[in-house]
Amino acid sequence: MAATSVVDIKLEDIPVDDIDFSDLEKEFQVDSEINFDNFVVVDGAPVAPESKVPMLSKVLGKLFSQAGKVVDMNLPLDEAKKCTKGYLFVEFDSAVSAKKAIKMLNGKKLDVKHRLLVNGLSDVEKFGSESFESEFSEPKLPDFQPTDYLKSWLQDEQGRDQFVLHKNDLIGVFWNRNTQQPENAVEPRSNWSNTTVKFSPKGTYLFSYHNQGVASWGGRNFERLRRYFHPQTKALDVSPTEKYLVTLSPEPISVPEDAPADFPFGPESNGHQLCVWDIATGVSVKTFALPPNQSLHWPMIKWSFDDRFCARLGPNALAVYDAENNFELLGGKIMKIENIMDFSFAPAGVKLAANRNNELSSVLAFWTPESNNQSCKATIMEVPTRRVLRTVNLVQVSDVTLIWQEQAEYLCVKVDRHTKSRKTFFTNLEICKLTEKDVPVEKVEMKDLALKFAWEPTGQRFVTISRTDAVDDNPAIPKNVITFFAPEQKDKAAKDDIKKWKACASVTGTFSNTISWSPAGRFVVVATLVTPDTRKADFNFFDLDYTGEKTDNTCDDVAAKVKAVAHPDFYGATDMSWDPSGRFLAVWSSAVKHKLENGYKVFNVTGEVVREELIENFKNFAWRPRPASLLTNAERKKVRKNLREWSAQFDESDAMQADSAMRELILLRRSLLEEWSNYREEMTEGMEEEYNYKVYDQIETSAVDEDFEVVEEIKEEILEEKEEQVDSFEEPETSD
């Protein structure tokens, strides 16, 4: 029966439609919802005995739930060894969570021995396929693209400086030729930058702003060197040695899913707004998120003088990063400083008294305000050691400003204080002498509130603009006082450490709001620039080493001789800037700020106008900075000694520049002079040879002094002799 039944049953006879497969379907249903993208394969997990499995799965479950909701987790067991196999499968609720887990936890160190390797389940196939290259193949480095010599402008035969002029949409770089029309260094370009252009601190690079980010330009023809992709960059800053570029964009970085290979940011940068770039390579080396609820003070990242460290102000903390160590936090954590208000790095290496072998230290200073049981404090700290060099305690403080001298020999802590009643304000200057042992502090007490303070870049003197709070607050009355401070110098010859600073001259009743020292020192311009509060600009040039007789000093025992040398006019001026050599001051009125008298003027140190141009819609002027001079002190001294010789040569080349006729004449004279000296030389030789006769230009013998006898004769000539009879010497009568 069984045999026949098998034969007999025909497929057609089976009523397929009637069979209820639902139970089977249910059992073998392939869940279309199952998405392998939701799974991750984790390798490198600890191998644990069976008994510890719950513990392990609990730990791992907690870890993975950071990335998203874990639906299931499977730790396979080695039946033979009774322990886990070291890998596991995790199912997330979504592919997004799985991806996040891969990004977050791949390479995560569980402990010293265990490092998790997290991959997507769907990727396993890809990695396992034969076509997948398991050999390491070196990434292809792009070929080296040589740039033009970036410091070529320093090789200018006449040592001229360059500057940028920005008018309308044209931006051009020009050679400064004193009184003459500036010469194009490159053809002015339209739309070179969306807003303005900016030089790096040593002048090597010129940066421009674009929709896509920032571009660097350099070399003889200002060709584009690199692009730094950071859309909508609003601000940029360059580190002191021109190694790093910092850009800030209001638009958070978003890394697309399928980012192209040359996309500068990794996924960890998502949402960041601040970016640090390596200028030379154009690679983004670090990005930062902006701390929430913090007012923005640009620059947001400050650098140590040698670019080794950079630091960022955070709420109640200071984050110092080691640039040479992948921008890791110094010591692995941020520095907690309660209420930190501001900080700044020393602009140069500090030769601390404790340093040996002329070592230079990176130093930073910060201040914290008064709090419940703490006084206001300014602290000077060495990095990376975090050794506190000095703390200055202050009371009744309303504000503090930290101002470094350019050589970082001194730090001025400008303390704006108030009386107990908080009605009047005044300033104390606490000057820290960093190069001396234990960093002594010299206090300079001012009677009024200092608005501005500026160190002489190469010296020990400074200038302040201060204001007394008068009862009458009529803004039309000029109330600002310019005061000059210089180290006390009792004995001219003695070059002791500075004991004390003294106010040695002052100018009262001005509107001045800006101090600008010549980079070479000695000359300072205190100006009123046009701001929303002031209408009319004015300029005061001061010489602090005046060589003439009459100085404006109020005391003599100081190392300064102050003299107001000039106050030229430029009513519309909005900005000013010294050229890197300190010989010229450029002052300009920018159309960005107002529409009056737009253009620029260049003054020399004595306040004479060297060149002026009024240009409609003139926007900006910028000198190209120069790197520090390579001359040693000895060489500099030599140049100074031979200043006359140098100036003779420069005068001539200036004259030749001035006009072509003069140039011809000078060339003619030069050849005449050479011709003559050749003639005389030939003559000298010829005469020597033929007649043994020495040619000369001048008879050396002269009447020697001892041959003379000085005879003094006094001749008295009586012109007239008169005798007069005088009656008497009675007093004249006085009438009552």
């Binding site: 001539e652 080349s653 000078i666 004279r669 005449l672 002079l673 003559m683 007649y691 008879i699 009447a703």
Partner: protein, 350 residues
């Protein structure tokens, strides 16, 4: 520059000369008395009296031992500078236009006028000296050492001067020519048509290797004595009577002015009675010194280059001690070349 006026001559000056040390000035004029002055203050040291007519020329030897004067009274007189005594007198056939000691000082030349049938000549006389004292060792010979009669085809000589080492005599002729003779033998060597009018002065550079000529044709020229090559030309706007080369600075000083006979017809302003300073190498006029109210007949600069004197038709000698601006004056080109040399010197020494 404040001049010192040497007032002592009664008629127009004919020549002024400095001695080698530059402390004495010798001057002669048409009034037959030659004078010696202190250069420092312009005080007169003394006079040489004895001539009967215009003294056309005066010179002093390099030792300031003897002075020689040539006069229109047909004589040349040798004077002891210290005593003012006339030591010797040579009689000549014609008036003497120019006298000059050779650099060695043991002979002098005299330019004799070509009048009364005499063709004119440059005649050289000997002054025998003691090697030690430089005093006359014997009575000088009345006969000349040699006599250079005016070359055929040339007009007579107006002026003449010695080159270095008594080697050559450079002679300026009335026709503008300059001729060159051997200083030992008087043999003719070469000639050059230099000016278009009479040569009025010939003065050598301090070392005697090149000389400057001035001419009535308003030009002054710098000529090399060896080759007679014209090195430089200085063009002015008035007839020139005298020219000298300044030591120390690379200048030449030219003097002249409207012809003496035309003076009465012109004002002193138009007469161009100024000494002109030209740059020797660049040939540019760099300055003028006013003061004379007649033409300048002669200019001389001290061998040290610190002062110069000019003698005018007006009868005065104006002595100028250069002031600082004169010594400081330099063209930018000169400054820069000097500066370059200085810097090179520094570099090579470093």
């Amino acid at each position: 520059m404040r001049p010192i006026l040497l007032k002592g001559h009664e008629r127009s000056l004919t020549q002024v000369k400095f001695n080698r040390e530059g402390d004495l000035i010798f001057s002669c004029a048409k009034d037959s008395v030659a004078s010696v002055w202190y250069a420092i203050n312009g005080e007169r040291l003394g006079t040489f009296e004895g001539h009967q007519g215009t003294i056309w020329s005066i010179d002093v030897d390099r030792f300031t031992q003897y002075a020689v004067t040539g006069s229109a009274d047909f004589s040349i007189k040798l004077w002891d500078v210290q005593t003012g005594q006339n030591v010797y007198t040579w009689k000549t056939k014609t008036p003497v236009r120019r006298v000059e000691f050779s650099p060695s000082g043991d002979k002098f030349l005299a330019v004799l006028d070509g009048v009364m049938g005499y063709p004119g000549s440059v005649t050289v006389y000997e002054v025998p000296r003691d090697n030690q004292t430089q005093q006359l060792s014997q009575e000088p010979s009345e006969e000349p050492l040699y006599n250079i009669l005016t070359h055929e085809g040339f007009e007579i000589a107006a002026v003449a001067a010695w080159s270095f080492l008594d080697r050559y005599i450079a002679v300026g002729h009335k026709d503008g020519r300059v001729s060159k003779y051997d200083g030992d033998t008087g043999e003719f060597i070469d000639a050059l048509e230099l000016h278009t009018q009479s040569v009025s002065d010939v003065q050598f550079s301090p070392d005697g290797t090149y000389f400057i000529t001035s001419s009535r044709d308003s030009d002054a020229k710098l000529v090399d004595i060896e080759t007679l090559e014209v090195l430089k030309t200085y063009e002015t706007d008035c007839p020139l009577n005298s020219a000298c080369i300044t030591p120390l600075k690379q200048f030449v000083i030219l003097g002249g002015g409207q012809d003496a006979k035309d003076v009465t017809t012109t004002s002193s302003r138009e007469g161009k009675f100024e000494a002109r300073l030209y740059h020797k190498i660049f040939q540019d006029e760099i300055g003028r010194v006013k003061g004379h109210f007649g033409p300048l007949n002669c200019v001389a600069v001290s061998p040290q280059g610190t002062s110069y004197a000019s003698g005018g038709e007006d009868g005065f000698v104006r002595l100028h001690h250069f002031d600082k601006s004169y010594f400081d004056f330099k063209y930018d080109v000169e400054k820069s070349v000097e500066a370059q040399k200085h810097m090179q010197g520094l570099e090579s020494s470093a």
